[in-house]
């Protein structure tokens, strides 16, 4: 059984080793993660506003210069604040945001575990 699992995992790693993202999809990914500051809840990918147009140019330039996605977000956050990026960072302020859902998941798992164990316990008795 363990051998089957080992082969399965190796297989998965093999088929994914060739995964790469092209530049254009990276560009669009970044567009979708940046908020249009003058719109009501749209990313710069979806917005047609002047501000969005300018932002897209800046992101294109920075990508061409070789900046990474994280560097671009850091640059824009320093100018406009964290509100401009849709993916919240994992910072002192935000770690609760990321931790709480998984806490709930584990909490639920514990409850189910207790319920099933109580049954086994009752059955044994």
């Amino acid at each position: 059984m363990k051998i089957k699992i080992f082969f399965f995992i190796t297989y998965l790693l093999f088929i994914t080793s060739g995964y790469s993202s092209e530049n254009q999809t990276k560009l669009l990914e970044i567009y979708k993660n940046l908020r249009c500051l003058v719109c009501q809840g749209q990313s710069i990918a979806d917005s047609n506003s002047d501000f969005a147009v300018t932002m897209k140019l800046v992101v294109q330039d920075q990508l061409k210069e070789g900046k990474t996605e994280a560097e671009i977000y850091r640059f824009l956050t320093s100018k406009y604040g964290e509100w401009i990026v849709y993916q919240p960072t994992f910072s002192k302020n935000n770690f609760l945001l990321w931790i709480l859902p998984y806490t709930a998941l584990i909490f639920g798992a514990i409850i189910i575990f207790i319920l099933v164990r109580k049954t086994k316990h009752n059955k044994v008795n």
Partner: protein, 174 residues
């Protein structure tokens, strides 16, 4: 109903949530970057509007006690309204030097605008595609940034400068 820890926790949580909802109704939803002060502006090169061989950069601004960087355009009507305050500032205050950045505009229109309303700027730069505005954290015009001699942003004015803002600028730069 028996009182137990879990019940107290649940009731407290509910009260907390409702309290935050209530407070949430009072907060201002519109986002602005007015609070983003304290950063240093950096790494830029501004080409002069009618002579692209001339330019200024951060080094030049360090020579000033205070610099007010104002983004404007000939097609922007609130820019017309705030212009008189800019002229006032350039006359009244010896501490402040004013830099104008012409945003997504045509040179001729910009020069006519200044000829008509007066030129308060010590230097007029151009930002044809808007990319320079992003360097300064601008997202609409008119917008102005006040920096000190260390190039630290001490005030951001989003929208046209009015009497209140004008007074505040003078107070900050005394």
């Amino acid at each position: 109903m028996k009182i137990s820890i879990s019940k107290i926790i649940i009731f407290s949580l509910v009260i907390f949530f409702l309290f935050v909802f209530w407070q949430g109704l009072k907060i201002n939803n519109n986002y602005d970057t007015k609070g983003l002060i304290g950063n240093r502006i950096s790494n830029f090169q501004l080409n002069k509007i009618n002579n692209s061989n001339q330019y200024i950069s951060e080094e030049d601004l360090k020579k000033n006690t205070y610099t007010l960087i104002n983004f404007f355009a000939s097609w922007c009507s609130p820019c017309r309204k705030e212009h008189k305050y800019l002229l006032s500032l350039s006359n009244e205050s010896k501490q402040i030097k004013i830099i104008g950045i012409n945003f997504k505009d045509k040179k001729n229109n910009a020069m006519n605008f200044l000829k008509e309303l007066g030129n308060p700027y010590d230097f007029v730069g151009e930002d044809l595609d808007g990319k320079i505005s992003i360097l300064f954290g601008i997202y609409g015009i008119p917008e102005s940034i006040l920096v000190d001699s260390d190039l630290i942003v001490i005030k951001k004015i989003v929208g046209p400068i009015d009497q209140v803002q004008y007074n505040k600028i003078l107070k900050l730069t005394q």
